[in-house]
Structure formats: structure tokens, C-alpha cells
Point group: C2
DNA sequence: TTAAATAGTTAGATTTGACTAACAAATTTA
DNA sequence: TAAATTTGTTAGTCAAATCTAACTATTTAA
């Protein structure tokens, strides 16, 4: 095999970090994968040898076009799987990440293309993250953070940043789902708590929560 | 991880051979997995250490109850996946083995239990092989080989033994599918070719083909 | 602007699961 | 039953992916 699960996991992490900052550093990869720095160093050299990264000693890493494409295909598998699990198998959005982490390493292209077709070629996964198409391209539309919105705005919840299963369960308990219209009633100056209205009720959302909700 | 994909593949092969003969020998495992004899030898010791096999030097191997159960769970995953791919994702029965070989190593129990539920707890996979339930038990009903049937018998195709994708494509081309009623018209004494009738036509099936078709 | 802290690297060990070469036991067959 | 063949085992090697310990380069801050 030319690409092991390990390689795929590194590539995915590197790709995700490259979206934010373009340059990627070794330490952040080590943290994301919960692996030692020397492990990252040796894998990085290997990936560079495969033409997936540009590597020079002590310089920040850069992902190549080839690396970006391969990473996009893995993320495609992950997000299609999440969508399939929610839409076609009845799982909750807080249950699917773990399962998709495993399924994303399945090699069969036909399997994922069939999922894609059955789902009607969705552009976003259940958490609002874009799903790369079979060429590796995906929607780049940027949403605003709810925490950057002002009182009296009426916005729609479109996606989540940095989710965890715990956060998703919290959102379930508050009746917050993608597509919900939220009106900002008040922003507390002191701690940036937001008083909002949606689904016929009012709630107070902490700054932490608001910084993870993407709206438009 | 206490069970790697490698361990799972060994266990599956050993289990399948144990069905036929109870005793299992090292060489047949090596052939089935396309691996060297010393590789099998060292893995067998490891599996014995895990309580999945009984091993004594130069003696035939025996699978333990624990090993049998673990193997059944892997086979359950494989066969449920095949059934799901055919019934819910529109794949042909000749396409699903390869994909299921990969999916059978997914750890999530919920994923397979959900498949099982969606499929209505099927007892057999698309090739007629029994699917172990979530406790590891499965149908043991034995079918007859078509090659053991006599002229003038009317039988129903129930399952296949030793299938390959090529054989399945051959069956597709002949319009042979599970559930088809087959009447045996004549058995050629010399080469055991069978002249049979089904679906409003007659065909001549070779002894090789007849020895892979299970009927009742 | 140098000392301290952080980030990255090298060397060498470990584990897993494979391999080849050499050998030993068991079985088959002449 | 003795020789030949087949089957199983041991010893030692290798590659992948991890680790710790020790070291070097870069960045930050006193």
C-alpha cells in the first residue's frame, strides 16, 4: 500500500491546519495526532518524499497541490460518511464523527461515489462543513461567527466550527440545529453573553458557544 | 488495539477452515492469506496467547469458543455489509466482496447493528451464506449441492459455495440468481454435465458450476 | 542583545507483522 | 521400513510507525 491510515491521518491534520495559516508547524501536528515530535518529523520527511509536502529543515511545512488533493479526498470520504450516517441511517450528528474517522480510510472509491449519488451530491456535511467533490474541489463560502453579530440582527445557523460531541449534545438540548433562524436581542458588554430568540423562545448563549456558531 | 486487521484476517480464515474440518493446518492458512509459513506460525502463537486458539507444536490447530465467537463477529460484519451494499446501495452481488473485506474491520458495533436493523435482521447474505446474529449464532441449515441431484428433481437455488467475482458474473450472464427454480433434465454420465431448465429456458451447466450451487 | 524558552532534529530502541534460510517432525510412498 | 516428500518450526532480518533521550536552531523576553 502506498497510503496507510497513518499517512492519511497526518495528511488530514496538515491540510486542516494549512487552511487556517498556510504554513504548518510540526508541534501542532504532534498535538493534533497525540504523537511525539520525532514521530511527526520522520513522517513529514516521508510525506515530503512522496511529494505531498515541501520540507526544509527548521522551515515551516507547506502542503503541495498533490498533498492538498489527496487530503481533500480523505475529507470527502469523512464528510460524505457523516452525511450518509445522519441522512440514511438515522444517526444523530453527535454520533457520527467517530464512525467516520474509521470509514474515511476505506479505499473503495465506488463506495463513496455511491453514497454521494444516493445523497444527491450534498455540498455540506451535517455540521455544515463543505464536502469536496470527486475532483477535490469544495465550497469556500465563509460564514460569520455569531459572536461577531450585533443586536437586532436576524441570522440563520449555517455551520459549526471546532465541534465536539459534547458541544453537539449541548446544541441538541437547546434545540439549536442548522437552518434555525436566530434573532440577537442583546449582547452583554461585560462577558459577551448573547440573549437570542429562536423557535419561539429566548435563550442566553455564552461567548464560548457563540464563537462556535457560524451564521449568515 | 488488541485486535488488528491482521489478527482479524487470520481468525476469519481459521474459522472458515474449522467449519469444514474442525482441525486446521498451518499450510492452508498460509495459502488462504498468501503469507509465508513462518508468518502463520508466529501469528498462531500470538492467537493462542490471546486464548483464541489451542496450539501445540506439530499438532493440528483448534479454534477455541472465544476464537469462534470473535470470528463470527467479523463474519457478521462482512456479510451484513454485503447485504447492505446490495439491498440498500444498489451494488451487484459480484461487486461487494472487496468492499466488505475492508468494512469488516470497522470497530463501531452501532454501525453494523444499525445496518442489521435497517435490513430487517437478515439471516443470509446476498450469496446465501448465513449471517451470525449479534450473539454470534447463525443458521446451520445445510443445502445440497446441485451436482448431487438427480434427473427430474425440481430444486431452488439457495446459496453458493466458494464464489469468486468471475463465477458471479457467469451466473449473471446465465440468469441464475438465488431463488430461481431449476429442473434437472439430464445428467451426462461421462462428464456430469447437467442439462437443466429454469426461467423458461434450458441450459447445460458444467460439473464445476454444479458443484458450487447449493439448492434445496 | 544575550539568556531562557520553544521548536525542530538526530540517534537509537521498540513493536508488529512480514520475510528467507535452515532445520526438524510427520506423513507418504516405493 | 527406509527414503522422499510434505508440513511445521526456529533463528534472524526488515520495514513501518512509534517512542525517549540528547542535541541544535530559532524565537521571545529580560
Amino acid at each position: 500500500m502506498t497510503n496507510s491510515q497513518s499517512i492519511e491521518n497526518y495528511l488530514k491534520v496538515i491540510f486542516n491546519q494549512a487552511i487556517a495559516t498556510d504554513d504548518v508547524n510540526t508541534t501542532s501536528i504532534a498535538q493534533a495526532l497525540e504523537v511525539s515530535l520525532p514521530s511527526v518529523n520522520s513522517m513529514v520527511k516521508k510525506l515530503a518524499g512522496m511529494g505531498l509536502l515541501e520540507y526544509e529543515k527548521y522551515k515551516p511545512l507547506k502542503i503541495t497541490a498533490k498533498g492538498r488533493k489527496m487530503a481533500a479526498m480523505i475529507i470527502r470520504k469523512h464528510r460524505l460518511t457523516e452525511m450518509y450516517l445522519v441522512e440514511k441511517m438515522g444517526f444523530g450528528w453527535e454520533e457520527v464523527h467517530e464512525i467516520a474517522e474509521q470509514l474515511e480510510h476505506i479505499q473503495s472509491v465506488a463506495f463513496f461515489d455511491r453514497m454521494d449519488e444516493i445523497l444527491g451530491f450534498p455540498e455540506r456535511d451535517p455540521h455544515g462543513s463543505p464536502i469536496p467533490n470527486s475532483s477535490g474541489e469544495f465550497a469556500t463560502q465563509k460564514f460569520r461567527l455569531l459572536s461577531d453579530c450585533q443586536p437586532n440582527e436576524l441570522v440563520t445557523l449555517k455551520a459549526l466550527s471546532k465541534t465536539t460531541d459534547e458541544f453537539l449534545k449541548y446544541l441538541n438540548s437547546k434545540g439549536l440545529a442548522l437552518g434555525v433562524e436566530v434573532e440577537i436581542l442583546k449582547v452583554e458588554a461585560y462577558d459577551k453573553n448573547m440573549k437570542v430568540a429562536y423557535g419561539g423562545k429566548t435563550e442566553v448563549l455564552s461567548a464560548l458557544v457563540c464563537s462556535k456558531l457560524l451564521v449568515s
